[in-house]
């Protein structure tokens, strides 16, 4: 089952979307918003699944689904907690600035509490007031949870995953060092994030959802040029069950919480830093990583951060090369 929210009001209007993303059907009679459905999932899920079946059989009123009319599946959420599950990415960034990465990072997940009061729609521009802030994309996988009790195990956490999607976790790289030095995490350096137009139930993902991970290349284009094709199922040190259980260690997690994987990142075939796509590699899911590789290899970063007018596209394809979650497509604009 695929779900989206059409623009309208603060929380959008819940619709069920066809597998090929061409059609959708209003689901407001079941739950007015995606959060309302998640709040009452045991009741809403079978009704939404029936609606999805009816839509697939074209036996109910349906309308064309245009991704540009979609707002974020959850335009605001009660929680957005983002992990750094691709430890390869963290190790590289540290290596570039000559900082040693603690060995514990391979066993103890890194995670931050993100702002969740407002997300950008998947085709919204990224409002950037100052290019000097060093704006970066971060292509990630996210899941949406049901209620998770305090102290949940990895297995309990995995069972509470309701939906899977993609994210552009926009970062302001040049504001990060000063904030991290304060120790209190990201506040100004993580502006509003963006999610894919469509979120999908794990059971609809087939083999792509396995071991608490989403498998397959995460496609990232920058200004129309292939930039990243890293496989989200490879080099993910901590699966989503482990990430959710980490968050639930000292408190319960409430339905509708969005948990992120952190920037997807694959090692090179030689075990070292990955290569750009133009050099035969799978590329990168953020600019910071290519700048890191450039720094390691040539002493200086040459790829600039995002400027006004730059375009970012993030999606994942099924076997027929159709986007599974729709496409995040954003232009950076002056705020």
């Amino acid at each position: 089952m695929k779900l989206a929210s059409l623009k309208g009001g603060r929380d959008g209007r819940l619709v069920v979307v066809s597998d090929d993303l061409a059609w959708c059907a209003e689901a407001g009679h079941i739950a007015p918003t995606l959060q309302a459905a998640l709040d009452d999932w045991e009741h809403a899920e079978p009704l939404l699944a029936n609606l999805a079946t009816d839509l697939q059989h074209e036996v109910i009123p349906m309308m064309r689904f245009h991704e540009r009319n979609a707002t974020s599946p959850l335009p605001r959420a009660y929680q957005w907690a983002d992990g750094s599950a691709y430890v390869n990415h963290v190790a590289l960034v540290r290596q570039a600035r000559g900082a040693e990465m603690p060995e514990s990072f391979w066993t103890d997940p890194l995670m931050y509490q993100g702002g969740s009061d407002g997300f950008l729609a998947p085709r919204d521009p990224i409002p950037l007031a100052d290019e000097a802030w060093g704006c970066d994309l971060e292509a990630e996988v996210v899941v949406v949870t049901g209620d998770v009790p305090q102290g949940a195990t990895r297995a309990e956490a995995l069972a509470a995953i309701r939906l899977v999607g993609l994210a552009n976790d926009v970062s302001l790289r040049n504001l990060i060092p000063a904030e991290l030095a304060k120790g209190f995490g990201f506040v100004q350096s993580k502006p509003a994030s963006t999610f894919s137009p469509v979120f999908v139930t794990p059971d609809s993902l087939g083999d792509r959802w396995a071991d608490g991970k989403l498998h397959g290349p995460l496609m990232v284009d920058l200004n129309g040029t292939p930039f990243g094709r890293a496989d989200a199922g490879i080099d993910m040190t901590f699966d989503f069950g482990t990430l959710i259980a980490h968050l639930a260690k000292t408190r319960a997690i409430v339905a509708g919480s969005i948990i992120g994987s952190g920037t997807v990142s694959n090692r090179g075939t030689d075990g070292g830093p990955g290569k750009p796509i133009a050099a035969g590699g799978v590329g990168y899911s953020c600019i910071a990583e290519v700048r890191t590789v450039e720094t390691i290899e040539s002493g200086a970063a040459t790829t600039p951060f995002l400027k006004h007018g730059d375009t970012v596209r993030i999606w994942m394809e099924d076997e027929r090369h159709h986007p599974i979650f729709g496409t995040i497509e954003q232009v950076v604009e002056a705020a």
Copy 2:
């Protein structure tokens, strides 16, 4: 105007509460929940204010207001961002562990993004799985905002403050050092926070609300003994306008966001660390601070962190010694 949420459903039932907290009236015909009222404040606020006047005049159906029947005014919120505006507190804690505090901490607010998906009711026990985590209370002032645009000034931020209340920002002190060392802020070390039973509009606070600060002693009792009487209007380096503008620098803030002051803390009359109440001082708003003072003065902390069975009370009184926001009263229990 005073607002509260009675227990029921995930978001409670909005009620208007009388100034003396003795009576309340259902406000569901105006807005079913406090978040719904905040989403549409321009419309809801005058209607709620009329209801409050009618309640004061006893011309509408009313019922006794029992704080034990109140859930958190916002049982879950789209944002909880907590500052450390009482820099004196931060300086003391650093001093105790021999760490220098950067001079910038006096001009650049420290703030963290907290979990907001679930708050404890004001009389809920604090569920603590392991006493070794070092559970601490933190008595704070909070405000709830309307919508704040990206790049808002301090004056714009102040104008967007809708409600004022108190908080117990529960902290797990022994989990903090390892999390802060990772740089990504608090995740496991900040379990669910608790807010006062009642939130109050700034205009109803009279002289107590001035210069973007709440003035008057913040009362904290620990196991029935006076522990803290620090004045929330003194030594607050950053007012709420400055804190909100800090958060809004790179992104818009959505209505219903809760912004915290951080632990209230007053210097001693000699400019040094404050004294315990038993020694003639105003005491402390968290255990970490008294432990810090003990460490500075005698080389070792003697006051223990919270244990199962300990009771915390937090409130603030009006001129007639009646609680303004109701009382947070929590027992620490095994989880």
